[in-house]
C-alpha cells in the first residue's frame, strides 16, 4: 500500500509540475535565445515571465568586454519582481534582484573570458534559477530586456555638450560620461515614428569599468523632444543606488538625452554633484506605451493620472492601448488605479520631485557656519570677562 501511495503521489506531483511547466513554456521560443547585437552593440528583446518560468538569452562576449543588462517594464510590468543572473560555462558571474527600476533587475560586468554568456531572467524568489517562483501566476508579466556590449575604453562624451548635444547613432549605443558640478551632459539621437527609447545610467569607476556598488553619484536623467525641446520623461533614482533610468515613447525626433545632478530638475546645470563617471546605455524600442500616463501624457505618472483612472472606473477601455487599463482586462477598474499608483514617477505620486534642500545644498552649511561663528564670539567674550 505504501509503495502504491508513493507512486501515486510521485505521479501526481510530476503531473502538476509537467502541466505547470508546459503552460509556462507553451508560447516560448527555444532557449537560450541568441541576442544579436546591432552595429552599436545594443540588443533588445521583449519577453514575458510566467510562474515557473525562466527566460534565457545568450550573448557572445570577448575577453575584457563590458556587458550592461537592464530590464524595463513598458507594458504594465511594474508588478514584475525579477532576478537576473549572468553565467558563463555554468558558473554565475553576476546576479541582481532589485538593481533596476522598481523591482526589476540589472547587471553590469566585465567579461573575464571570451565565450557565450547566458542571461537568465526569473522571479525574485527563485534564487536558484530553477523556475520555482509564482511571479506572473495570474497573468504573464511583460518586460523589455536591453543589452549593451562594448570593449573598453568606452567612447567618451565630447565636452562641452551642455548646450550642443553629442550625436548618438540611430541604433543607440553606450557612452562614457563624466558629470561635474554645474555640468549637464547632452546627447541626441534620431528615433522613428512611434519608437520609444530606453535609457539607463550605470556607475563606472575612474578607469571606466563597471562599479560593483553604485557609489555616491546621484544623477538625474531627462528625455526631451520638439523645438523648443520639451521634456517628455525624466527620472531621478530609478536605477541602482541613486542612479537613473527612463523609458518612454518619443513624441518626436530627434530625442535629446540630458544627464545632470539630481537637484537640477530644470536641467540648467544648477547642481553640485560630481565629478563621477557613468555609462549611458541608450536603446531605441520599436513601440513603447507608457501605461497610466493619462493627464497629460508627459512621461510622468502622478496622483493626477491615478485620480483620472479612479474617476473613470467601470468604464470600458478604449482599446488594447488604453493607458488607463493597466491590467489589460478591457475595463477600467479600481484595480487599474491601484496598479498605476505603483507606476508613479516620484515617491508619494507627486507631480514633481521633492524640492532639494536649497539651490546647491550649501545653505544648511552656511547657517551652521553662522551659528558656529556666533558661538565662538560668545565664548571669547565670556573668557574675556
Amino acid at each position: 500500500v505504501t509503495s502504491r501511495n508513493i507512486l501515486r503521489s510521485a505521479l501526481a506531483s510530476a503531473l502538476a509540475l509537467a502541466c505547470a511547466a508546459h503552460a509556462a513554456s507553451a508560447a516560448e521560443p527555444p532557449e537560450p535565445v541568441a541576442l544579436v547585437l546591432g552595429s552599436t552593440g545594443i540588443a533588445t528583446a521583449e519577453g514575458e515571465i510566467d510562474s515557473l518560468d525562466v527566460d534565457r538569452y545568450a550573448v557572445s562576449l570577448g575577453a575584457g568586454e563590458l556587458l550592461f543588462v537592464a530590464l524595463f517594464a513598458p507594458a504594465g510590468g511594474t508588478l514584475l519582481d525579477t532576478r537576473i543572473a549572468v553565467s558563463q560555462a555554468g558558473t554565475v558571474v553576476a546576479t541582481d534582484d532589485d538593481g533596476g527600476p522598481r523591482f526589476l533587475s540589472r547587471v553590469a560586468l566585465q567579461a573575464g573570458a571570451a565565450g557565450s554568456y547566458e542571461i537568465a531572467i526569473t522571479g525574485f524568489r527563485d534564487a536558484g534559477f530553477t523556475g520555482a517562483h509564482p511571479e506572473g501566476s495570474g497573468e504573464a508579466q511583460a518586460y523589455t530586456l536591453v543589452v549593451g556590449v562594448d570593449a573598453p575604453p568606452l567612447a567618451a562624451e565630447a565636452e562641452p555638450n551642455d548646450a550642443a548635444p553629442n550625436a548618438l547613432a540611430a541604433a543607440g549605443g553606450i557612452v562614457r560620461g563624466t558629470l561635474a558640478q554645474l555640468d549637464v551632459d547632452r546627447f541626441s539621437l534620431p528615433v522613428a515614428s512611434g519608437e520609444g527609447l530606453a535609457v539607463s545610467l550605470f556607475p563606472l569607476d575612474a578607469g571606466g569599468l563597471p562599479l560593483a556598488s553604485p557609489g555616491i553619484g546621484d544623477p538625474r536623467l531627462g528625455l526631451f523632444a520638439g523645438s523648443p525641446a520639451a521634456p517628455f520623461a525624466q527620472n531621478d533614482d530609478g536605477g541602482p543606488g541613486l542612479f537613473a533610468n527612463a523609458v518612454a515613447a518619443a513624441p518626436g525626433s530627434p530625442v535629446e538625452i540630458a544627464v545632470t545632478g539630481f537637484r537640477d530638475a530644470g536641467f540648467a546645470g544648477v547642481h553640485a554633484e560630481g565629478p563621477f563617471e557613468y555609462a549611458l546605455v541608450a536603446a531605441p524600442l520599436a513601440e513603447v506605451a507608457l501605461l497610466c500616463d493619462v493627464v497629460p501624457a508627459t512621461g510622468v505618472v502622478d496622483s493626477l493620472d491615478v485620480a483620472a483612472i479612479f474617476a473613470a472606473r467601470n468604464a470600458p477601455a478604449s482599446g488594447p492601448d488604453d493607458p488607463r487599463d493597466a491590467d489589460g482586462d478591457g475595463t477600467i477598474t479600481v484595480l487599474d488605479a491601484s496598479r498605476c499608483r505603483l507606476q508613479c514617477t516620484h515617491p508619494g505620486c507627486t507631480s514633481a520631485p521633492r524640492r532639494a534642500c536649497g539651490l546647491l545644498g550649501i545653505e544648511p552649511l552656511a547657517v551652521y557656519g553662522i551659528f558656529a561663528l556666533l558661538r565662538r564670539r560668545r565664548t571669547r567674550r565670556l573668557s574675556e570677562v
Binding site: S303, F310, N314, D327, V334, S338, L342, G348
Partner: protein, 187 residues
C-alpha cells in the same frame, strides 16, 4: 508519502493567487425611529498575509425606507491625502470606492487580518424592515491584484414608528391628573 504530499501542496499553494476575503457589516442589524439616523461599519476580513489596496463596492438598499447620508472612510488605506475616495448614491445603490496611494510595506504596517473600510450612515424614511446588501464588489491587494470575495454579509434595518404627539399629550395629561389626585389626598 505525507512529506511528498505536503511538499506538492506547499508548491501549489506558493503558486496560487492570494487568499479570498469576506465582506461583512457590524452590527448586522440596526433599528431606528423614522427620521433618525442609523449607521454600521463595512469590514473586509480574512486578509491573511495580503494587504488591502483598493475596493469598489455597491451596496443595495430600499430607497423607500432609507436615504443615504454619508460614508465616513476609515484610515487603514491611508486616509485623506494618502488615498483617493468616492462615495455616492443613486437609485437605491451606494457606490463606495477607495484606492490607497501607499506602497505595500506601508499598508502592511497599517493593516491586520480585518480592515474597517468605514461607517455608512442612512436616514430612516419609513417604518418597516429591509436589508442592505453587497451587490457588486471589487477588492484588490496592495499590488493591484484582485482578491476573490467569498462571502458578503447583509445588514437588517428596522424602522420603528415615531410616538404620536396625541399619545404624548395623553400621557402628560394622565400624569398631571395623577399628581393632582395625590396632592388632594395629602390635603
Amino acid at each position: 508519502v505525507s512529506k511528498l504530499w505536503v511538499l506538492a501542496l506547499g508548491f501549489l499553494l506558493a503558486a496560487a493567487p492570494a487568499g479570498a476575503v469576506s465582506i461583512s457589516f457590524a452590527p448586522s442589524s440596526v433599528s431606528g425611529v423614522v427620521g433618525s439616523e442609523v449607521s454600521f461599519d463595512v469590514v473586509v476580513s480574512d486578509l491573511g498575509s495580503a494587504t488591502l489596496g483598493s475596493y469598489d463596492l455597491d451596496l443595495s438598499f430600499d430607497p423607500a425606507q432609507l436615504a443615504f447620508v454619508s460614508f465616513d472612510f476609515g484610515t487603514l488605506l491611508g486616509g485623506p491625502g494618502a488615498s483617493l475616495q468616492s462615495a455616492s448614491a443613486a437609485g437605491g445603490v451606494v457606490d463606495l470606492a477607495e484606492v490607497s496611494l501607499l506602497l505595500p510595506p506601508d499598508l502592511e504596517a497599517l493593516q491586520a487580518d480585518s480592515v474597517v473600510l468605514g461607517t455608512v450612515r442612512f436616514t430612516v424614511l419609513a417604518e418597516g424592515e429591509s436589508d442592505v446588501t453587497v451587490t457588486q464588489s471589487i477588492v484588490g491587494d496592495g499590488l493591484g491584484a484582485p482578491l476573490p470575495v467569498t462571502s458578503t454579509g447583509a445588514v437588517h434595518v428596522t424602522g420603528t414608528p415615531v410616538p404620536e404627539p396625541g399619545s404624548v399629550a395623553l400621557v402628560g395629561l394622565g400624569l398631571a391628573l395623577l399628581g393632582r389626585g395625590a396632592r388632594r389626598r395629602r390635603r
